[in-house]
């Protein structure tokens, strides 16, 4: 362990632990949560480790409280997170919206399990992908990352914290039970190699002229926290640049909402991360994320061995969606094949962007397990 309490070196750890260690390495110093399988190990790691880095853990009374505590802690100046699974994720939705509306940086991890409802607590699912996009009421943009391995859970949790600060918004880490519970090698680099995007503070001194929600060129205003002397007013109501409620002026709503959406839409190049493998020149492109991107590797390899031209487009960033890339590929290929552990969610986005230029084929899985090689392979072969 490096002397600042952050791990460094090569470890064998499960995904949930890697997520917690990634958060600590990213500077997370507050965790508020409520136990739920298969995310509990993240909380258990955080309660053990946070005191070693002068951070605070609190087990709240439910996930509604957890989400709010995370928002509060962020306004108190801390890098803050929570981790949950389906049922808890549902309870967080209203106040995830508060985080989006008040532009509060924080990280929410969802270790997905089979659903709906209590579903399959100990088994894998990817059924919350659309909830991640649209689960809170009203209109908004969201950032969601989907790790496929413990190493990626470590790396992407760090990235989630940095994106949260850069774009002043909650960022979702949409992992799943298999990734959360699998143990693999995780390399933790020395601190100087870990990216750290600091909270942007106002560059003007406290005064009544300070506009906490002023539209900056990149649409992301700097953030004065409680106790910084700016005496900010923060509300979930539609608000003007001062942060004051204005719930009747349609222009205020329009400007505010446009900025909330554009700060993500206009920075998609920066936010969207894709991993491509032999996509150029492919006839079939498998679009996958999370654990499904890994289970797709074998059928893809077998198909290639049969001489088929198959590429893998792995969505590391699921939201905002890689619209442009799908549009670009659609006219050049015979089909997109989309294996996901749900009955068809991200496939809808692929289909929308393919816009009839090519086939888009779902390989569904109801949850509780991973795709069988033969099912994905059969679909690839059918359309190649």
């Amino acid at each position: 362990m490096a002397n600042n309490g952050i791990l460094q070196g090569s470890f064998f750890m499960d995904g949930d632990t890697a997520c917690a260690e990634g958060a600590l390495a990213a500077g997370c110093r507050f965790f508020g949560g409520y136990p739920i399988t298969p995310a509990t190990e993240i909380a258990e790691r955080m309660v053990l480790r946070l005191p070693q880095v002068d951070g605070t853990y609190i087990q709240m009374e439910d996930e509604i409280a957890s989400m709010n505590a995370v928002l509060g802690a962020s306004w108190g100046g801390a890098r803050a997170m929570t981790a949950t699974s389906g049922p808890g994720f549902s309870l967080m939705m209203e106040n995830l919206g508060l985080g989006i509306m008040t532009e509060t940086p924080c990280v929410v991890v969802n270790v997905q399990r089979g659903g709906p409802s209590t579903g399959m607590p100990t088994l894998v699912g990817q059924g919350d992908m659309m909830q991640a996009r649209w689960g809170s009421h009203g209109d908004y943009e969201i950032i969601a990352l989907a790790p496929s391995s413990p190493q990626e859970l470590f790396d992407l949790t760090i990235r989630a914290f940095n994106l949260a600060e850069k774009y002043r918004t909650p960022v979702l880490v949409m992992t799943d039970e298999t990734v959360g519970h699998m143990s693999e090698r995780v390399i933790i680099p020395p601190p100087e190699e870990i990216e750290h995007y600091p909270r942007r503070k106002p560059d003007v001194p406290p005064s009544a002229d300070y506009l906490p929600y002023k539209s900056e060129p990149n649409s992301v205003p700097p953030m004065a926290c409680a106790g910084d002397g700016y005496r900010v007013h923060v509300t979930g109501l539609t608000h003007n640049e001062k942060g004051y409620p204005d719930t009747v002026n349609l222009d205020v709503q329009q400007q505010m909402l446009e900025r909330l959406i554009n700060k993500i839409q206009h920075n998609k190049d920066d936010i969207i991360e894709l991993h491509e493998d032999q996509v150029e020149g492919a006839d079939i492109v498998v679009v996958a994320y999370g654990i499904s991107a890994r289970t797709a590797a074998r059928p893809i390899r077998l198909a290639r061995e049969m001489g088929l031209k198959v590429g893998l487009l792995k969505l590391v960033t699921v939201w905002p969606f890689a619209e442009e890339r799908i549009r670009e590929l659609a006219p050049k290929i015979k089909a997109f094949v989309v294996p996901e552990i749900n009955m068809g969610q991200i496939v809808l986005e692929v289909e929308r962007c393919a816009a009839g230029q090519t086939e888009t084929i779902l390989v569904p899985h109801a949850g509780g397990g991973l795709h069988k090689t033969k099912d994905v392979l059969a679909t690839i072969k059918k359309f190649a």
């Binding site: 306004w75 801390a78 409680a226 910084d228 409620p245």
Partner: protein, 277 residues
Amino acid sequence: MNEELSNVLISKEHPMDDYLREDRLPHIWCSGCGLGTILTSFVSALQKSGLDRDKVAVVSGIGCTGRAAGYLYLDGFHTTHGRAIPFATGLKLGNPELKVVVISGDGDLVAIGGNHFIHAARRNMDITVICVNNFNYGMTSGQMGPTTPTGARTSTSPYGNHEPPFSVPYLAAASGATYVARWTSLHIRRLEDSILEALNKKGFSVVEIISPCPTYYGKKNKMGSALQQMKYYHENSVIRHGSDPAESGIDLGGEIVVGCFINKDKPTFLDSQKRSV
């Protein structure tokens, strides 16, 4: 007319400008609503407390009372319905230097937010909670709530409320609060002193303020003008410091026990957390 009442009516000039967001006034509250005087009492207590105003944050939920955070010239957070306490909990833990005050309504704090209220009390989270009890949901035009006395009429209890209410001091005390008091909005001086005590108290301190909602609760229950309703609460109250919070229930038309019920010391969440690791 007693001295406290004349204070309200004469509306003395207060050096409060600096404590209120003048650019947000006039406020949205109905004339005669108890919330105006309550805000004044809070500001006076804050002035006396000597707290560094840059280190005081106010968190509200949603409701007429919930708008309080927006009128105070402090770091202010107007959160979602029922969630002021968990937000305040995170805020305090994110920056323990802050004095964090929750100002919210009875429905917000003990109906939709009731679970947060009892758990923050149990943990002895170091925050002050000011609960404005107008016996109904003012903001949404006067529905019954968790504090509506049995028999009282509201828009959702047209035949008279058939449920028993919570007593906020009893709930707070039973859940572990370190300071529990109740006053009416017309007990100006005592209320101010009590808020000051609560602000200076370490741990989970609660001040419940019985406040008229002339527009809805008062009208439905034929309580007369705003001033009459305010006076009615004041005149029907009996001061019983140190009395058993279990005896603090409010019956329709019955006496209102006010005073400081609990004032004790025990380790806060952060104190005990530090000691445990």
